[in-house]
Structure formats: C-alpha cells, structure tokens
C-alpha cells in the first residue's frame, strides 16, 4: 500500500468510527442543550440498545430472517423501546432532581449508569453475546482502498438518521419548541409550550439514536457485552465537547473529528499506537484552551 492508499483507507476508517461517535454524541448534546445535564448514563443506553436489538432480532428472525429486512425492523422496534426507557429514566431519576445542585444530578446520572451496567452484567453473567448475523465481506475496491457494503450501508443509515433529526429539529413544531426551551424555559412555559413533554421527547430521541448506534455496532462488529458503553460513552462525551456541547451540528462534527484523530493516531510517526488516546485527549485539551466553548459552541455568560 502506498502512503496515499493508507491515507484514504484511514480516512474511511476514521469516518466510520466517527459516525458511531456522532450518533451517541447527539444524545449527549441534545440533553445537555435542554436541561444542562451531562447524562453519563448515555453510553449505557447505547449498550442496552445493543442488547434490546439482539433480543428483538432473535425474536423476529424466524419470521423475517437475519438479513437487512430483519435488522431494520428489529432496529426500529428497539429504538422505540429504548427511547421509552430513556423517558422512564428521565421520569424516575432526573425529574425529581431538577431543582437540586447540578453536581447532584451529575452523580445521579452516574448512579443510573452503574445500575444499567451492573444490571446487564448480572443478566448476562458478564458474557459476550454474539450477534446472529453474518453480512459477509463483499465490498468495493478503489485501488488499494477497500470498503465493504456493510460499511456503506452503515454510514448511509447514520447519515439518514441525522438528516431526519435535522429536519425534525429545524422544521417541526416540536423541534422548534426544543430549541426554544434550550434558550429560556420559563418564557416557553408562559408561551404555552408543554415543557415537560418536550424534555421527555428529547430524552426519547436521544436514547433512540444511541440505541440505533448500539444495534448497528452489534450488527457491524458482531458481538456485544455489558461494558461496551463505557468507552464509547467517554468518547462521545469528548466528541460532544470538541464540537461544543449543546450544539447539534457540533456533535456530528466532533464525532467525525475524534474518529479521524484516532484513526490517524495509530499511524503516528516515531511513537506507537499506544499513544493514540493520549494524542486524542491532548488535542482536546489544547483545543479547549484556545476555544473554551468547543468548535461550534456558543459563548454564554454563566452563573454557577
């Protein structure tokens, strides 16, 4: 492989990895934008999404097969289920905490994360579960750069979901209400917007997206386990911050940038791949030093 080939292959790798980060980062950023909560349980929602996807898929496969049709239906069903789980968590754990100090809500989110994580661990006794799909390795070759059809379908479905989200937020009434609440909750209440419903809806959408990412990860990588949400939750959080937390295009951009950083990080000259995460975090810190609100975040004056 020539250097140029490697460059393009790593570019493709980075974008695929980045699209996973973006999907999860979107949920982080949406929830943050609307109630200023760093929802640390979000990575675990992604993990639970993977498991719900596995269960629905195995229930459905006798009727629909484990091909793309089965996967699509299973994914939609699990997105709805996990979306509802997100709303449930919000009702139980976050609604009573809205007037509490911000750090307390953060810790509550951490506790929710621990509950989900340990629950799935107990249920699966820590085992890795294989996804019962095998999508083969056929793909397109551009010179020495190789991209499988699965990867193409994956990236295009991520893009579709993001476009739908974009449309939902910018064009529909609910999306407008969401954006309005992020600016001023009290004013919204006075204007007759049902703030509670809209916040619940934000959780629904964010969790459904994370679930979609979880199911896709199961399909694409072929196995899921109870701690798969931990690392990606951390990475998605990082991505959301790089893009400017609270900003929706920022989350997408941040995810892609982080994916690329990591892909090219394994190719660092002089030092080995063991430094790739140090490299990614160092870039993040440097970025925040020069642009404290992230790439697309708005500067706001804040009282703590």
């Amino acid at each position: 492989m020539s250097t140029l080939d490697i460059f393009f292959q790593q570019l493709a790798n980075g974008l695929i990895l980045g699209s996973f980060y973006s999907m999860v980062a979107l949920g982080y950023t949406m929830v943050y934008g609307i109630i200023k909560l760093l929802n640390f349980a979000h990575g675990d929602i992604y993990m639970v999404g993977g498991f719900v996807g596995l269960i629905t898929l195995s229930l459905l496969s006798p009727f629909l097969g484990a091909g793309w049709a089965g996967i699509l239906v299973a994914m939609i069903i699990s997105m709805i289920l996990v979306g509802l789980l997100g709303v449930l968590i919000q009702r139980i754990a976050y609604v009573p905490m809205l007037s509490a100090p911000r750090l307390s809500i953060l810790i509550t989110a951490l506790a929710v994360s621990m509950v989900l994580y340990n629950f799935v661990m107990s249920m699966t006794s820590g085992e890795y579960k294989a996804f019962p799909v095998d999508l083969g390795y056929e793909g397109l070759e551009f010179g020495n750069v190789f991209i499988t059809y699965t990867q193409i379908i994956l990236v295009s479905s991520t893009a579709t979901l993001m476009l739908v989200l974009h449309f939902f937020i910018s064009k529909t009434m609910y999306g407008k209400a969401m954006r309005a609440i992020a600016i001023d909750q009290d004013a919204c209440r006075l204007m007759g917007i049902n703030v509670k419903t809209i916040i619940a809806m934000t959780f629904f959408v964010g969790s459904a997206l994370a679930c979609a990412a979880g199911v896709m990860a199961g399909v694409y990588y072929g196995s899921i386990h109870f701690f798969m949400g931990f690392l990606i939750g951390l990475k998605a959080f990082t991505a959301a911050v790089i893009g400017g937390i609270g900003s929706i295009p920022g989350a997408v951009l941040g995810g892609l940038i982080l994916g690329l950083l990591e892909a090219f990080g394994t190719q660092l000259p002089f030092i080995g791949s063991e430094w790739k995460d140090v490299f990614a975090f160092a870039i993040l810190i440097l970025l925040l030093l020069f642009k404290p609100t992230g790439l697309l975040g708005k500067t706001e004056i804040e009282r703590m």
Binding site: L17, E127, F146, F226, G265, T266, Q267, G272
Partner: protein, 371 residues
C-alpha cells in the same frame, strides 16, 4: 434526629462487617477459591469455581481430607488488583489452609505478598505472567505454564509455517503485555523481524485503523496475546480488510466464544493453549461429571482448576497435616502428579516443570489439535 439515625446506620454496618468474620465447625477444613465472579472475566472465573467445587465434592465423597470435610469459600477478585487484595485478606481472615485459583495475572500479582506474609499456600491455576515468578515469596505454585513456554511454542509454530515477519498486538494489561514482550524478545533473538508491536484498549470494538496500519507493514503473521472477546473482533476485522496471512492467538483467547463471535473469519486461526477437555483422554469422566452437575460444558481453565484442587488434596495427604510449611514442602516435592491435564512437577521457581502448551487450529468452526 437525622444525624443520630446516620450514626446508627454507620454503627449497624460496622457491626455487620465485624461479625462477617469466620465461623468454624469442628471436622471441617476451609479452602479458599480466588477467582473473578464479577466483571468481564466472570464467565471464566465461575467456570473455574465450578471445577474446583466438583473436585471438592469428589474428595468429600471419598472420605474427605485427613478425616475432615473440605468446605470452600470464594473471594471475588473481579480481575482487579485492589479488589484482589481485599478478597485475599478476606480469605486469609476466614482461616483457609490454602487457596486455589488465580485467573487474571494483574490481580493475582499483589496478593502473593499477602499470602506470603500469612503463610498461606496458593495453587495458581490459570495466571501465568512471568511477573508472578519474580514476585512469588515461595507460596505460589503455578500449574499453568508461563508466558516463556507459550512464546517458545509460538516461535516454533511460526518457523514451521515459514513465517518471516510478525506483528504482535496486546491489550495493555499484565498478562497480555508480558506474553507479547517475551514473544517479541524470543522472535527477534531467533533472527526474525517484528514489524509492528501494537496495543488496543479493553472494551474497544473498532480496530480498523490498527488493521490498516498492520496491513501496510505486511507481516506474514499476526499474534494476538490477550483475551478472546477483543481477539475475535480483531480477527474478523483483519479478514474483512483482506489480510490473508497467518493469525495466531494466546491461551487467554482459547474459547468457543471466539469462534462464535468471529464466525467464518476464525477459520485457520492458530491458538496456543493449555490442553482443554476435548484433547485430554484422562478428562472424559471429568467432562461428563461437570456437564451432569452444572449443565454446561467445562471451559478453558476448568481442567487446571480441577487439577489444582486435587493436587492440593494430594499434597495435604502426603504432608499428613494442615500445617502450611508441611503443605508447601509436599507441594514442592510433587513428582509427576497425574492430573487430568497432564503430569505436574515444579521447578525451583515453583512453575510447572514441563510446558503444557499445545497448538490448536480452527477447522470447520471447531478447535482441532494441530500436528
């Protein structure tokens, strides 16, 4: 009022922990089991625990040990050094005469000092990092071969397969880094090249950029030294990216799960492993009994764990007492004890005298012995 109730709460929990100490019945002797029962390696840990308990049942059924019934107590090390120390001190406090177990090398490592100070012998069934050898105060008896023996097996296989250059990938924890660095040393000492020496993080799923890096360096073989879960993903992604060279994995990856997760990609993959039930004629009854009792097939380290418990019992019988020094002496003097996984004797460093590693290969979605 509130403050008082919290003080009461704290004192209650104090009392709870204080009374959690030992209870002894006459005619019983306690053996500790130290394995992970929580966390990502819990499956293998519980499998080891089941095998040890099976051995204990058999010993008790045939009259116990020096006329006493064996009872076991389990300490969960969670594959984490800090929790392992807590688990070890719990076992020691409960008055165990010896311990069997040890799965993650990194977790076993700091406990050796504790067992040494308390003078409690431990038969280490799975952990095999060479770091354990240096840290052993004369109480740890390793019945799995160390990374040294495994690296030799690996070098021999690569040579016979005509491999000239290899890439090594580990997971950045004690066991896999130890094996990786020994393999690198031995392979380079034999005059060959290691073109890539890489690390992945536990819990990562996407290795595509690493795969691209490896592929661009054109190694004849890739050697994965860590556990099966990430290993399966790496194998799958290597094959997906069109890598067609040899792939080999270490004993931590020996699991049917690897094939289940990697699917067709696992075909032809080599694994260096302690012999598992399928290739041990002596283990037939063990496998049947295990299946009958627990309704699952015995896992990769079950035979060694079973042997560890039986060996301990044998040593106690030879020692004729439960005195720690006598047990240690008897263990050390073990001369070709016939375990179901093969004969056991110890070197002066208390490691297994012979190499127990065999090479397996995936054929038709099954592990087969490679000749």
């Amino acid at each position: 009022m509130l403050r008082k109730s919290f003080l009461v709460l704290i004192s209650l929990s104090l009392a709870c922990v204080l009374t959690a100490g030992s209870s002894f019945a006459a005619g019983e002797v306690k053996v500790g089991i130290m394995i992970p029962t929580t966390g990502g390696t819990a499956t293998d840990g519980k499998d080891m625990e089941s095998a040890i308990k099976l051995a204990v049942d058999e010993i008790n059924a045939s009259g116990g040990l020096l006329g006493k019934k064996i009872v076991t107590t389990t300490g969960d090390d969670a594959c984490d050094p800090q929790q392992a120390v807590a688990a070890a001190s719990k076992l020691i406090s409960e008055g165990v005469v010896a311990v069997v177990g040890g799965y993650c090398s990194g977790a076993t490592l700091p406990t050796l000092k504790l067992y040494g100070e308390a003078n409690v012998p431990i038969v280490i069934a799975a952990s095999n990092s060479t770091a354990l050898v240096g840290a052993n105060p004369g109480i740890g008896f390793m019945i799995n071969s160390t990374g040294d023996a495994q690296a030799d097996t690996a070098v021999a296989l690569f040579k016979s397969a005509g491999v000239k250059s290899i890439a090594i990938v580990h997971m950045g924890e004690a066991y896999s880094e130890d094996l990786a660095s020994i393999a690198k040393q031995k392979w380079e000492a034999a005059g060959n090249k290691v073109v890539a020496y890489e690390v992945v993080n536990k819990g990562e799923q996407d290795f595509s950029s690493l795969v691209t890096t490896i592929k661009s360096k054109r190694p004849d073989a890739v050697f994965w030294t860590a556990y099966y879960a990430e290993g399966a993903l790496l194998i799958k992604q290597l094959k997906q990216a069109g890598y067609r060279g040899t792939i080999a994995i270490g004993d931590g990856s020996n699991s049917p799960k690897l094939i289940e997760i990697a699917g067709k990609a696992a075909e032809g993959v080599y694994c260096f492993s302690n012999p598992t039930v399928d290739y041990l004629p002596a283990a037939k009854t063990f496998a049947a009994d295990f299946k009958a009792k627990y309704d699952v097939a015995p896992g990769p380290y079950s035979t060694l764990s079973y042997d560890g418990m039986k060996l301990l019992a044998d040593a106690v019988k030879r020692a004729g007492s439960f005195d720690a020094d006598a047990i240690k002496k008897a263990l050390q003097a073990t001369d070709n004890y016939e375990g179901i996984a093969g004969p056991i004797s110890f070197t002066d460093k208390l490691t297994l005298a012979r190499s127990n590693f065999v090479t397996l290969q995936v054929k038709d979605q099954k592990w087969m012995l490679h000749q």
